[in-house]
């Protein structure tokens, strides 16, 4: 039996690179969920060439509608829960724009925070019933401490962090593993605008490698690249009077 992996937000560059590594290991049953048919199909087609033995399907749904999410997860898990679920979608807006426009602010909070939590919740129930599987969620180092340069996005990712923590607590005595991934700044289409500033970003293929290994082991918390464990430990513990003087 081929391993079954469900990826929510399959067009995310990190998710896509994870999928490439997964099908490279061995053929898989892959369910790719996206918001845009054409873009998700492009990812699927690439994976089909890389791994003709894999069974790859594309499913498009509304990521913001709780009923849609619930119904879709019921469908996907009807013939057995997946071995791995990766929840990877997100969007990185300009902080300034969010401060000017509440509509955008709401959208960012919903897409990056509420929606991943709803997916996690929807998958947690069948996985707990089946007492198996790994539920991996991509958070962000931005969720560790609110900073003026991106606290709207950071707040949503902070929600994901707490949510994953809670799920880990709830499922601690089961065989279901919950993996929270906190990538540092990574070279993906999402960070395109920031790259002009010459920041040295991690390679998405390297980040994906860490994720795939961590998911296989069921590591509860993955910082990638690893140096971000240390950086964020310092940032979290800086006293406020110092932190507030920093332009970050």
């Amino acid at each position: 039996m081929l391993k079954k992996i469900v990826i929510v937000g399959a067009t995310s560059a990190m998710a896509e690179h994870c999928a490439r590594l997964w099908v490279q290991e061995s053929p898989k049953v892959l369910v790719l969920a996206g918001r845009d048919q054409t873009k998700t199909e492009r990812v699927a087609q690439d994976l089909r060439v890389r791994s003709p033995q894999s069974e790859i399907t594309v499913q498009v749904l509304n990521f913001l509608d709780p009923d849609c999410i619930h119904e879709w997860v019921e469908g996907v898990t009807a013939d057995g829960v997946p071995d791995i679920v990766l929840i990877a979608h997100g969007s990185l807006p300009d902080q300034m724009d969010c401060q000017q426009e509440l509509g955008l602010c709401e959208e960012v909070l919903t897409v990056n925070g509420v929606s991943p939590a709803l997916f996690a919740e929807a998958f947690a129930n069948p996985m707990q019933r089946a007492n198996r599987g790994t539920l991996a969620i991509i958070g962000s180092v931005a969720g560790d401490r609110g900073r003026k340069s991106n606290y709207v996005y950071g707040a949503a990712k902070g929600l994901v962090t707490r949510y994953a923590q809670g799920l880990q607590h709830r499922l601690a005595r089961t065989n279901v593993k919950v993996v929270l991934i906190k990538p540092g700044p990574t070279d993906t289409p999402m960070t395109e605008r920031l790259k002009a500033d010459g920041v040295n970003f991690a390679e998405v293929s390297d980040v994906a490698k860490t994720i795939v290994v961590g998911v296989a082991r069921g590591t509860p918390l993955i910082y990638t690249p690893r140096k971000w464990i240390l950086i964020m430990m310092i940032v979290r513990h800086l006293p406020r009077f110092i932190f507030n003087r920093m332009d970050i």
Binding site: A13, V43, D46, V49, R50, P52, D187
Partner: protein
Amino acid sequence: MAYGNGRSYGDVCLNPDGVLWTTKGLDHFIAFDDETGVLECEAGLLLRDIQQTLVPRGWMLPVTPGTQLITIGGAIANDVHGKNHHVMGSFGDHVLALRLLRTNGEVIECGPTEKADWFAATVGGMGLTGLIAQARIQLRKIAGPWLETENIPYTNLDAFFKLADGSEAAWEHTVSWIDCMSRGEGRGIFMRGNHVAAQEGPQLKQGKKTVPMVPPISLVNRATLKPFNFAYYHFQALKSGKSRIHYEPFFYPLDNLLEWNRIYGPRGFYQYQSVVPRPVGQDAVRAMLQEIARSGEGSFLGVLKTFGSRKPIGMMSFTQPGVTLALDFPNHGERTHVLFARLDAIVRDAGGRIYAAKDARMPRDLFESGYPRLSDFLQYRDRGISSAMSRRLMGS
């Protein structure tokens, strides 16, 4: 200007004070037919990903340069060649179709028979006719990943040409490393190889090394060059004879030494690759080697190879029947440029040309004399695209 994986040595993919479009995200396979070997893919896909995905399924790129860390778009835009030019021609010879996006919004689908003029302008067109977005490529069937190879030391240019001529009929891949520091005739190691049907062979060694830092001065200098080349020659000569080898170390010897360019120090290096017609080739190569020996400049990596008689498809393609010499030189500023001017004179007199993909300094007159179809090509340029190279060599 489109920017792929940035492996061109010169300024063909640079655009100071301008915009670069990275094609990094255009790295998707679109389709592959296991029966016919026809591959359709986006232009930012690396040759490495194609080889690693499809070699196990019995298909390989027919033409590949000395690194697989380049994109399909770059391979087409520079019409790259490999060690098997005399059999397979250059990369463009295996492209069945490509999709070109123009800055005026036009989308041009072209190929060897469809809009052939656009195709001829784009293959080898240095990215100046538009952005190459997708391509369809004919792969070749192989039985396995291994090649049967043979290393033969030679002690002078006459011997090289005899080996090259004598190997063309029976050997698909031929190339030679030449010791540019040996005064006089030019000794080297001739390497030839054929794909084999064998199902067994040495497995690929895993693990890559990285040059950890940029040393303050070039490690390639007068003190190191001679002993290195001397030692390399004699070590390779010891290994002469036949062996079976995996395609990766055979085709891509430097790909496992990441950031190797750092050994040249903060000022970097130039590569000088020229091709000169065969009838004057031997004299021209000898003259170039003499100039290099006299200058005291030199390189670890000297490559000498003959091209076959196949005419390239591209208007601005580099390959032409003849003999090509490629050398890396540490950048010593004026001193290096004085040497290049002498080499230019030899190439110009011989009716040869310099490889644009590796160039950062050739004079305009040598570019114009080396590429006689330049005026045809200019009609196909995308007015919205320019590069450091186009401004340097074409004025805009």
